[in-house]
Structures are given as structure tokens and as C-alpha cells.
């Protein structure tokens, strides 16, 4: 339809794309293998496994935030609410219906997704700072419910039975393996999302809403979809979080700082990068860990790093790390283009 096509340029591009894909997958698989092997290394104690599981929880929660904030451009300060929904759904199901851990976590994700869908509809017209305040309100709303409705047992909390997967009891190590597998699945989901027409539509809405609409992107549909997927992924983190210590209480899950921590993790790591939540999640968990004696300083340090990243590297730490690789990749795909416009 559009006249002769230069075959050589087509082939060159496609081949280069495939090689970079393979390299990305190689790196990812290596990372996950390392994470799976970690609890079996000599000298690793049980508490380290649950600490590592906590990092995984933060990474998954930040992945959820990155879908909405990084890729769709809607800042959320309320994902702690979805974490709580995922956690309590899984907690109540495992306690009162003795369901399998896996079923509990999946149910938590679905429940969070349903609430995400509804919230997406309610907040259809909000953006920018208004969206941030709206989602913050949602987190407070969930906190109030959890504190006051008897079934959630407020600050008393609910103690959960030992984790069971496929009828077998699992310890901290087994739990870490489950967490890492969950992380693998959410990472795969986000990878597919970002590299598909759906991810393109999310990013189009983020960058130029009207142009996206005139290109045929249904704003209502894709915004709500982004909310739903984002909430469901954070719901997975919630389910896992409940079962790390087998205890849920309003004191922990109604805490607004969860929401702030997830946002900080996403922004510091790099909100629109696949590696971003990994770096951010690690950062958020390890800061209080190293500053145990000076707990108040961890807030200050998080704040300072956040401001530093926003000023020096708005694309996040992952953005800084990726820069040289991107230049390399661009050169390989389009040898003629120097990065400089002609």
C-alpha cells in the first residue's frame, strides 16, 4: 500500500530486537535463579528468608504502583488500601475456610482488582494532584473500615494458621520460594503489558490524552483497566504480606505510610522501568534495616533520597543504569541514527 519497502532495514531491526530481548530474559532468569537459591545458601538463617520475602512484597507492591503511576501517569498515594484488601481477603479465607495459601493470595488479588476497577470508575475525571488526594482518601477509607468493622478485629489483629500449600506446611524458606514465584509471574505480566498494545495505550494516555483518544484509545476503558491490573498486582503483595508473619492487624495495614512507601519505592527505583520496582523495593526495606537504631532517620533518609532522585534523575535509579544500554540498543537497531536528529 505504501510503495516499495526496504527489506534490509526491516530485517536488521527485527533481528536486533530479538537479540536484546534474549539478553533481557537472560538477566531476568539469572536474577530469579539467584533469588530462589538464596535461602539454601550456607549461612542463611530463617529470619533472612522472611526479610527477603518482605523485599519481594515491596517489589510486587511497587510494581502495582508503577502500572498506574509510571505507565498510565496517575499518581497514587493509596495503594496501601489495595495491600490491605489483598491481605485481609487472604487472611479471612485461610483462617475461616482453611483455604490453600495460593488460593488465598489469588483471591486477595481478585478482590483488590475488583476494588481497583470500582475506584477507577469513581476517579474517572481526576488527574494530577487531585488523583493523589483522592487515592489518599481511599487508603484512609480502607483503614477506617478495617479499624471499625468487627470481622477485621481492628487493632487486636487476626492470627493466621500455619501456611499450607497443596496440603503441605511450609516454613520461611518455602514461603520465600512462593514469593519469588509470585514475583516472577507479576514481572512477566508487566513485561507483556508494557510491550503490548495495551501498554502503549496506557502510555499514550499518560503522554497526550487527547491524541490518544483520537488514535482510538478508549479513555474510560483503558484507565479502568490500568486501575484494575495495578490494584490486583498490589493485592498479591498484600496476600503475601499477611502470611509472612501469619498475622494481620489494623495497626499495620491501616498505616498510611505503606502507601507513601510504595510510591517512594516506585519513584526512586524508576516508575516506568521494569527494573525500577526491584531497586525501589530493595531500597525501602533495607533503609530501616540498616538504620534500626535510628528509626526516625530512615524517614529522613527516604525523603532526602526521593528529593535527590527527583532532581537528579527523574526517570529513577533504573533510568540512570539503563541509559548506556539504551544508547547501545538504539545504535544496534538503527546504525544510521546517531541519536542526533538530522
Amino acid at each position: 500500500m505504501f510503495g516499495p519497502v526496504n527489506k534490509s532495514s526491516l530485517n536488521r531491526g527485527t533481528l536486533a530486537n530479538i537479540t536484546t530481548l534474549r539478553q533481557n530474559w537472560g538477566l531476568m532468569i539469572a536474577l530469579f535463579t539467584a533469588a530462589l537459591a538464596f535461602p539454601f545458601l550456607p549461612g542463611v538463617e530463617g529470619w533472612m528468608a522472611s526479610q527477603a520475602a518482605l523485599i519481594v512484597v515491596y517489589i510486587i507492591a511497587a510494581q502495582g504502583v508503577s502500572i498506574l503511576t509510571g505507565y498510565t501517569g496517575l499518581v497514587t498515594v493509596g495503594h496501601g488500601g489495595f495491600l490491605a484488601i489483598g491481605a485481609y481477603t487472604s487472611a479471612l479465607l485461610t483462617k475461616y475456610f482453611a483455604v490453600d495459601l495460593i488460593i488465598g493470595i489469588i483471591s486477595g488479588a481478585i478482590m483488590a482488582g475488583v476494588f481497583g476497577f470500582l475506584l477507577g470508575l469513581v476517579f474517572l475525571r481526576l488527574s494530577g494532584a487531585f488523583m493523589a488526594i483522592g487515592t489518599l482518601g481511599f487508603a484512609f477509607f480502607v483503614g477506617t473500615i478495617v479499624n471499625n468493622i468487627p470481622i477485621f478485629e481492628g487493632r487486636e489483629g487476626i492470627s493466621l494458621p500455619t501456611n499450607r500449600v497443596l496440603g503441605m506446611e511450609i516454613g520461611d524458606t518455602g514461603f520465600l520460594v512462593i514469593s519469588v514465584i509470585a514475583l516472577g509471574l507479576t514481572t512477566l505480566l508487566i513485561y507483556r503489558l508494557v510491550h503490548s498494545g495495551v501498554g502503549r495505550a496506557f502510555m499514550a494516555l499518560r503522554d497526550a490524552e487527547r491524541a490518544a483518544e483520537s488514535s482510538g484509545v478508549n479513555r474510560v476503558k483503558y484507565r479502568t483497566l490500568s486501575f484494575t491490573i495495578s490494584a490486583a498486582v498490589t493485592g498479591v503483595a498484600g496476600g503475601l504480606n499477611a502470611h509472612i508473619v501469619n498475622y494481620v492487624s489494623a495497626e499495620v495495614f491501616a498505616d498510611i505510610w505503606y502507601s507513601v512507601d510504595f510510591l517512594v519505592a516506585t519513584v526512586v527505583g524508576g516508575s516506568a522501568m521494569l527494573m525500577g520496582p526491584f531497586i525501589g523495593g530493595f531500597f525501602i526495606v533495607m533503609v530501616p534495616f540498616f538504620l534500626e537504631e535510628l528509626a526516625d532517620f530512615s524517614f529522613i533518609l527516604k525523603g532526602v533520597v526521593l528529593i535527590g532522585v527527583l532532581i537528579l534523575a527523574p526517570a529513577g535509579i533504573a533510568g540512570v543504569i539503563a541509559r548506556p544500554f539504551q544508547a547501545l540498543r538504539a545504535k544496534r537497531i538503527c546504525p544510521k541514527s546517531t541519536g542526533q536528529p538530522k
Binding site: M1, F2, G3, V5, N6, S9, L10, G13, R192, L193, S196, G197, V198, G199, R200, A201, M203, A204, D207, A208, R210, A211, A212, E213, S214, S215, G216, V217, N218, R219, L225, A272, R329, A330, I333, C334, K336, S337, G339, P341, K342
Partner: protein, 256 residues
């Protein structure tokens, strides 16, 4: 000659300001049609009504005879109508290739099949990428495919916007000031592209433009509006000699 797009008695008012006052016009298929008028005449408002970003208070819109007055902006692309914007409106953080691919959004098929990379969706995606590359080649953008569009010069960005519009496989393109802010070379370039799109691909073009020499040289037919109302219509030659049009642009001679 069939009319691809038609609006009748479109009235739009913002508070007390009447932006479009009973505008009626028809776009003949396969032509390049111009819409001109002094600043504030209501050209962009009319464009927004036609592409459904703005609802008309009264009046009716037809695409190939079908009423489109209740459709949404995102329905336009699959129907065969697309537009560009007055100030460049690209996805700045994304590559040229991704910008063009978003133009083809309504062709991705089932979004979930696309997301999970099912075989048929993958095949379709490859087809879309190949088509995007062909369009890029036609608009001489093949070297910019992987560059972020925010780093491209103005004239090139205008071409990217055109490429994105073409990716949706349109029957009619609405161009809102396609050469505004371009230098002579870029203007000549875009003019050539518009004519190519019209003649070789058979796409109807409806454009708003202030560059009169450009409008006069490429349009088959021109509508003139002033203060939100139809003022004149005709071939470029007729418009150039129309006394009402001259008055609207240059003002009336003082008779005292």
C-alpha cells in the same frame, strides 16, 4: 461525488460566546478541502465538534450519511476519521515507532489476546510494526524510528504526527494548521506529503491553515468562516476575488 463528512447548522456556545453559529459544510470524498477564517472564527471549535471532542448545542453531523453526533472521540479512528492537532500533540517520551503504532491502536484486536501474546495477536502485531515501518519510510522517518520524539526537530515532529494519523488507516484526515510554525522548507515538505497522501492513497484531507499561499495552492475547495458563521465557499480563485472574504481579512475601508 459523494460527501464523506457533513455538518449542518452546528451551533456551539461557551457561556455567552458563540463560537460556531449555524455552520453548514460538506466534505467531498477524495478532495483536499480548506477551512479558513480570521483568528477566533471558530475553526478549531468546528474541528473539535467534528472529531467529537466538543459537543454541539444544536446541529447534526454525518459521516457517509450516518449520524455521528453521539459518538465519542475514540470511535472516530475505527470509523475512518483521524486528526492532527494545532500544537504538536505527540507522545513525547516514546519512540517514533511507538507513536506510529498507537495510531494503529484500533487495529490491535482483542486487547487481552494482544497483551498475553497469543499467536494470532503476535502475527497481527508483527504486521502492524511492518506497516508502521512502511509509513515511516514513506514520510522519510525510517532513521528516527527508535529516537524519542521529544528530541526531534519541529518539522520532523510534524511528520511523525502525520505518520501516526496515517497508521489508523483513515479515509479522511483533519489537519489543524499542519504547517503552523514551520519554515519554508518544512512547509514545502509537508505540502508535498499532504498531496501525496491525497493523490496516491486516496485519503480525503480537510485542513485549517493560516498560510494562504499554501491553502490556495493545494486546496480543491475552500470554506471561509467568520465570527462563527459561514462567510463564503468556492474554489481558491473564487475565494481570492470574493469581496466579503477580503473585507473579513483586511477590514472595511473607512468611508468617511
Amino acid at each position: 461525488m459523494t460527501e464523506i463528512l457533513r455538518c449542518e447548522n452546528v451551533l456551539v456556545s461557551f457561556g455567552g460566546v458563540v463560537a460556531c453559529n449555524n455552520i453548514t459544510l460538506g466534505i467531498t470524498e477524495g478532495k483536499i478541502i480548506g477551512l479558513i477564517g480570521p483568528n477566533g472564527a471558530g475553526k478549531t471549535t468546528l474541528f473539535n465538534v467534528l472529531t467529537r471532542f466538543q459537543d454541539a448545542d444544536t446541529g447534526s453531523l454525518y459521516f457517509r450519511g450516518a449520524d455521528i453526533g453521539r459518538l465519542k472521540p475514540h470511535d472516530m479512528a475505527s470509523m475512518g476519521m483521524t486528526r492532527t492537532f494545532q500544537n504538536i500533540n505527540l507522545f513525547a517520551e516514546q519512540s517514533t515507532l511507538d507513536n506510529i503504532l498507537i495510531g494503529a491502536h484500533h487495529l490491535i484486536g482483542n486487547p487481552f489476546a494482544n497483551m498475553f501474546g497469543l499467536p494470532r495477536a503476535r502475527k497481527n502485531e508483527r504486521k502492524l510494526i511492518e506497516r508502521a515501518r512502511q509509513i515511516a519510510e514513506m514520510l522519510r522517518l525510517e532513521d528516527q524510528l527508535n529516537n524519542e520524539v521529544k528530541n526531534l526537530p519541529y518539522g520532523v515532529q510534524k511528520r511523525v504526527e502525520m505518520a501516526r494519523a496515517l497508521a489508523s488507516n483513515p479515509e479522511i484526515i483533519l489537519l489543524d494548521e499542519p504547517v503552523a510554525g514551520c519554515n519554508e522548507e518544512e512547509t514545502a515538505d509537508l505540502k508535498e506529503i499532504i498531496q501525496h497522501v491525497n493523490r496516491e492513497l486516496g485519503i480525503t484531507v480537510f485542513l485549517v491553515e493560516h498560510d494562504m499561499s499554501m491553502v490556495m495552492s493545494i486546496c480543491d475547495y475552500i470554506y471561509v468562516i467568520n465570527f462563527g458563521a459561514n462567510l463564503a465557499e468556492g474554489t481558491p480563485a473564487e475565494i481570492q476575488s470574493n469581496s466579503d472574504v477580503i473585507k473579513a481579512y483586511l477590514g472595511e475601508e473607512d468611508e468617511t
